[in-house]
Amino acid sequence: MEITFILNRQKVRVDVPADITLLSLLRDYLHMTGTKVGCEVGECGACSVLLDGKLVDSCLVLAPQVEGREVITIEGVCAEDGSPSDLQKNFISAGAVQCGYCIPGMVMAGEALLRKTLKPTRSEIREALTGNLCRCTGYQQIVDAIEMTAKQRSQTQSGRDKNV
């Protein structure tokens, strides 16, 4: 069936079977492979994307459900100038990346949290990552990276508020 949606800020129209998942649509049909396959049962979060700004497992979203909605994948995460986002850069400098397979999902989960709050506690950050399994890092440097980004963004924001 035909599906039209906004993918990483661009309108996309595809013709796909009705019973595939959003994950399959992204990877098998659009060959956007930044979104990873981990378990396909909504446990590992490697396939996390933002659907209308909310964090979801793309393996548990039926492709036609995105009709008319906005999907952001890891390929759509970047700073305004197209370079890696502050969050992505902080993942690098915090040493949060090892094998990297969970990382696109982790970045999406971190971004989803930071859209809700710029003052998360470490425990809130950990809670926000509970749907994303990582087997390499023990999560600690991932939490560091998100915490670092929250601080930077809230400083920038308060700086901006002061200027206004």
Partner: protein, 285 residues
């Protein structure tokens, strides 16, 4: 060649039940999809059409009027967990929904789906049963109502007809002063299937005697139900540690009476005692 799967997104409940009753197709309701799409992977579908009700605004409302809570079946766990009305009056339902899966699952999974899927370990069931929540069902044949405890007959078994959908749940706003609490035991701190859970509502009078109590364990019995014998026992008694311990023993005994001795009973007995005491301490303490 297998028939290609179809997908329809009705614009109203009316339209949805129309599709479900269409003899020409075997429709399957799709709300959050968090259970359905997992099942689809392992079980060959016995349906040929997804009926997507995830955008029906009719089933996504939460409101209280005249002391009656109205909770749309399409409301997601994430929304319930943060809803001010829920947090104010029936916070244990928010606790239960917050214990479901992960942020991703809570963002899509719905209350109606949790009930309709009827897993023995469904986290929202004990709180809904405690509330004597009524499920409102719709089909082309009309409307009917059923207590959640009766709707869910056992693990993955409900009284829902294939052409029926849950539109919403209603329950009475708890009387003033009634506290609610939910406890879940899982094998890890997040994303865990409930080993055992318990929901309770309670209040004591000015003399310290129990004057309101409802208690319902989850993943303890095939049908999720209030243990009314224990509630009756507790009513009117002085709320104190001894009473909670006593109640824990009675809860465990009642569970074994219902289920008989199973592989997990030895553990569930001691654990149910513990969480009964704790939940009573919260709602009566």
């Amino acid at each position: 060649m297998m028939k290609e799967m179809d997908y329809i997104r009705p614009n109203s409940i009316e339209e949805a039940v129309q599709i479900l009753s269409d003899p020409g197709r075997r429709g399957k309701l799709l709300a959050g999809g968090t259970d359905l799409l997992v099942q689809k992977r392992v079980d060959p579908p016995d349906y040929d059409c997804f009926v997507d009700i995830s955008r029906l605004s009719e089933i996504q409302q939460i409101r209280v009027s005249d002391g009656v809570f109205y909770l749309g079946a399409g409301v997601t766990h994430a929304v319930i967990a943060q809803d001010p009305l829920i947090l104010k009056y029936v916070s244990f339902l928010a606790q239960a929904c917050l214990s479901v899966g992960s942020p991703q699952i809570r963002n899509t999974g719905t209350l109606g789906g949790n009930v309709a899927n009827a897993a023995a370990c469904a986290d929202s069931l004990p709180a809904l049963v405690c509330l004597d929540a009524v499920a409102h069902l719709r089909s082309k044949r009309g409307e009917r109502q059923m207590l959640v405890t009766e709707l869910v007959k056992g693990p993955h078994e409900t009284a829902l007809e294939t052409d029926e959908l849950i539109t919403h749940f209603t329950f009475l706003q708890p009387p003033p002063g009634v506290k609610t609490h939910f406890i879940k035991i899982g094998r890890r701190n997040a994303q865990s299937i409930s080993r055992l859970s318990i929901a309770a509502m309670g209040r004591k009078d000015k003399n310290g005697n129990v004057d309101f109590i409802r208690i319902c364990p989850g993943a303890a019995t095939p049908r999720t139900m209030r243990f009314t014998e224990v509630e009756t026992y507790l009513m009117g008694k002085q709320a104190c540690e001894e009473l909670y311990v006593d109640a824990g023993q009675r809860m465990a005994a009642r569970m074994v009476e219902i289920t008989g001795v199973r592989w997990s009973t030895e553990y569930k007995e001691v654990a149910l005692k513990a969480i009964t005491e704790r939940v009573l301490r919260e709602v009566l303490g």
